[in-house]
């Protein structure tokens, strides 16, 4: 049985809130505010509809003025939108966070060991833990980098793992983003916005800060500098001002105090990378690249790439410049590899995964394929190498034509598809309109840094599917975001 909110100390605005049949982050099934939201709810009751409205408008206006926006692809050049921001924070108690932190560290460690292994001895393949064809046929497996030693043996330096909670409230890993995960600037900007909106709450509730992320990131980048460079110059390589994450690129560069460069600002001579400055060419040692492998170097990967730097890969191979993330991490993002991550954890660390995977079916396995094709209308089907919510079928919400289309795709290219049961994502009270709050589905993307040690910013980006009933939280597909509070304590 579920029922509307019972607890007395709730804002009038939350009074009629009903969690319905979902796992709600704030309100339990019997209508009680969960303990870690108690202080927030108590303070929030002072907020009237009018003051909430004015706070909301102030935040939106501030985001617009500061240009905290993302660019929309496929729209005419220069179309910018603010990433809708919901003022109600998502709160995580300390003991839950400690578990997540351990789980994320375990996962990035296993992934880095896996990448090192498949680019060297390939023991995990030889021992039959992962069928070799899955790795070797992977679109993002870079055979050119077999036996190449990346600095400090770290492949993934920055990881944005997507977590969800199911209808029981269990945390699950939805996918690993080990290429160029984005969104961390919103974590920082959302926190800034909420501190201005509810300054009194931060004093009393005890929220762990996120502000040191840029420092930790810079430390991670400096750690991988080529040996013998006393003062490494670190730069951020962006695809350019029309990229959807350009705001984030400039934001991070500014926070770290490093240069933001485009491909055309860099030039390679004698296997060393330089940037073009008003005083001539200056050496570059570490590149935080926000550019996929394919675009990095037209002499090696896509020949038509205008965004990359000819010769960059040769400089990288010669050990004169370091890249974060390393080339070739895309194979770990492959959704077929995702299926094997629990096995990697067992194989390399002899541990059980602390945060489990979502049950997954591989279309390339005969039995699984049969199951997938028979149950398309119940499953979520994903292309193995797409991100951002593209190339995805949500069975229960799809039309007959869409299901038929995916049936054809899966039959034609089984290696390229996986399927998962439709998870009823947890929900969170979210402002819908006119002072009314309803439950909306959310996920969580924490950011993990792997340098000298593993650092996870307490919290991460909570994305929320603003459309009623929608399960898709991507910014490109009508999602919004929330600030994520990790508490010092559990209440």
């Amino acid at each position: 049985m579920t029922s509307a909110l019972k607890s007395k100390p709730a804002s009038a605005m939350l009074a009629g809130y009903n969690p319905e049949l979902f796992f709600d982050e704030m309100v339990s099934a019997d209508g009680e505010i969960r303990p870690h939201y108690a202080k927030f709810a108590e303070l929030f009751q002072a907020t009237t509809k009018e003051s909430f409205d004015s706070k909301r408008q102030a935040v939106d206006l501030a985001f617009m003025r500061q240009g905290v926006t993302f660019n929309v692809y496929g729209d005419s050049a220069g179309t910018e939108k603010i990433f809708p921001f919901d003022l109600l924070p998502r709160i995580i108690p300390n003991k839950e966070w400690e578990m997540l932190e351990r789980g994320l560290a375990q996962r990035i460690t296993a992934l880095n060991l896996f990448l090192h292994d498949i680019y060297h001895e390939q023991k995990i393949l030889k021992d039959g833990v992962i069928p070799p064809q899955y790795v070797l046929s992977g679109k993002h497996f870079r055979r050119e980098f077999v036996n190449f030693n990346v600095p400090k043996d770290i492949y993934i330096h920055i990881c944005g793992t997507d977590l969800i909670r199911d209808d029981k409230g269990n945390y699950l890993v939805l996918e690993d983003n080990g290429r160029c995960p984005s969104g961390v600037s919103y974590v920082l900007e959302n926190r800034r916005a909420l501190k201005r909106t509810f300054p009194e709450m931060f004093e009393t509730i005890g929220v762990r800060p996120v502000e040191n992320y840029p420092q930790e990131l810079l430390r991670t980048l400096q750690y991988i500098a080529p040996a013998g460079v006393a003062y490494p110059r670190v730069v951020l390589l962006t695809p350019g001002a029309y990229n959807s994450a350009y705001f984030e690129h400039t934001y991070l560069a500014r926070q770290m105090g490093i240069e933001i460069v485009e491909g055309r600002d860099l030039v390679v001579r004698n296997a060393r990378v330089f940037m073009r400055t008003t005083k001539g060419l200056q050496p570059v040692h570490v590149i935080y690249r926000r550019l996929d492998d394919d675009f990095l170097d037209p002499t090696v990967f896509r020949r038509d790439s205008m965004l990359g730097v000819p010769g960059l890969v040769n400089a990288y191979r010669s050990g004169n410049v370091s890249l974060a993330n390393s080339i070739g991490t895309g194979i770990a993002d492959d959704k077929v590899m995702y299926y094997f991550v629990p096995r990697m954890i067992k194989y390399y660390l002899d541990q059980d995964p602390i945060i489990p995977n979502v049950d997954t079916y591989l279309a390339s396995e005969e039995a699984d394929k049969k199951y997938i094709l028979e149950n398309l209308e119940k499953l979520v089907v994903k292309a193995a190498n797409e991100s951002g919510g593209y190339g995805m079928l949500i069975g229960p919400k799809a039309t007959k034509a869409e299901i038929a289309e995916f049936r054809k795709k899966v039959e034609a290219e089984p290696r390229n598809y996986i399927a998962q049961p439709t998870i009823s994502l947890s929900r969170h009270p979210t402002h819908v309109n006119d002072g009314l709050f309803e439950g909306r589905h959310i996920d969580l993307r924490p950011f993990v840094l792997y340098g000298e040690k593993i650092v996870t910013v307490p919290g991460g980006l909570t994305r929320v599917a603003l459309r009623q009933g929608s399960l898709v939280v991507n910014s490109s597909q009508g999602g919004g975001s929330k600030d994520t509070w990790v508490l010092y304590g559990d209440e």
């Binding site: 001002a241 296997a271 073009r276 400055t277 008003t278 000819p310």
Partner: protein, 343 residues
């Protein structure tokens, strides 16, 4: 400093300066018509056409409009995105350049530029315009001056800042010389005008106002307005911050702060041309200019100013880029040599 960054800072402030100057030109010339009598189509065109000519976009104007009427000219200079030098276009490009170097400028500067951008991009701006063009121009001018102030007061005065200064003063020198050229058709080809009528006074006063020079001029020359005094003031006054000599001196100073080369010496063509032009302006008299013809002099002056800009680009911004195919070949050659060495 990255060459691309220097380039963006330079253009950011150039475009802001451009937007402000165009706002002043149109603002001053719109109500001027109220004071002129016997307005027919021909006289209207004679009034508005030179204004289009000052921006150097006459050809584009007639590609987009048939006649030089108040409505067409203001639309062209203020709103039209097809005109890359319209007020709205200029502000968009200033903001685009700022966006490219978002990490190099302050939050205060960015927010104000962004605010101005959203103002001209939304319907509010049209609404303000409909109700009072003068209020609209006021907003543009205030926005620009606010941005110039923030550039001065919040940015670190490092190399990049001097590139922004160079852009601002180069644009301002160019625009002042063009505004001064607005009424050349009323002047004799050579020599100073023999007499000045009431209409001339109005028009040359408008020139002063278009340069925000009205009060400064009055404090120096008193009430008398005539073409020779106006030209002398706008070209040679050493203390008025929009005169050509003042702007070129500041441009010259910025160039020297960028390179660290002392006055009287040069290491690139931009410094040579800027230093030479400062000297020319210092040692030329207004009579000499009218003897040869003001319009002709201004034409050459604009060319010289633009050449300084082109040489600045060559010295700092433009570094020989290979095209992609050539660059790929360079890499292959280099990498081949390496493997020979390794054998």
């Amino acid at each position: 400093m990255l060459s691309r960054v220097a380039n963006s800072l330079y253009w950011m402030s150039r475009y802001i300066e451009r937007a402000e100057n165009i706002a002043r030109i149109v603002d001053v010339n719109l109500p001027l018509l109220l004071d002129l009598r016997d307005l027919n189509e021909k006289r209207l065109a004679a009034h508005w056409l030179p204004i289009v000519q000052t921006t150097g976009d006459e050809e584009l104007f007639f590609a987009l409009h048939k006649k030089a009427t108040a409505k067409n000219v203001t639309e062209f200079l203020v709103f039209q995105m097809e005109n890359p030098n319209s007020i709205v276009s200029s502000i968009c490009q200033a903001r685009e350049n700022a966006r490219m170097v978002r990490d190099q400028i302050t939050i205060e500067l960015w927010e104000e530029l962004n605010r101005l951008y959203w103002f001209v991009r939304t319907n509010t701006a049209r609404q303000v315009w409909k109700e009072s063009p003068s209020e609209y121009f006021q907003q543009i001018k205030a926005g620009s001056l606010h941005i110039i102030g923030l550039t001065d007061a919040t940015l670190i005065h490092n190399e990049g800042w001097w590139f922004a200064q160079a852009g601002k003063f180069l644009e301002r020198a160019d625009k002042t010389s063009r505004i001064l050229d607005l009424r050349y058709q009323t002047l004799p080809e050579k020599g100073a005008p023999k007499s000045v009528n009431q209409e001339d006074v109005l028009e040359w006063s408008a020139i002063l106002r278009s340069c925000s020079a009205w009060d400064a001029y009055k404090s120096i020359n008193g009430a008398e307005v005539n073409p020779v005094l106006v030209a002398e003031f706008l070209l040679f006054n050493e203390e008025f911050p929009r005169s050509v000599e003042f702007c070129v001196s500041e441009l010259n100073r910025a160039l020297r702060r960028i390179s660290g080369v002392a006055e009287g010496k040069f290491i690139n063509a931009a410094e040579k041309l800027a230093g030479r032009l400062v000297a020319e302006l210092q040692f030329t008299t207004i009579d000499e200019i009218f003897d040869q013809g003001l319009h002709q002099y201004l034409d050459v002056l604009q060319l010289k100013i633009n050449n300084i800009g082109a040489e600045l680009f060559n010295a700092y911004i433009f570094q020989q880029f290979n095209n992609l195919e050539d660059e790929i070949m360079v890499q292959q050659e280099e990498q081949q040599q390496q493997s020979v060495k390794a054998e």
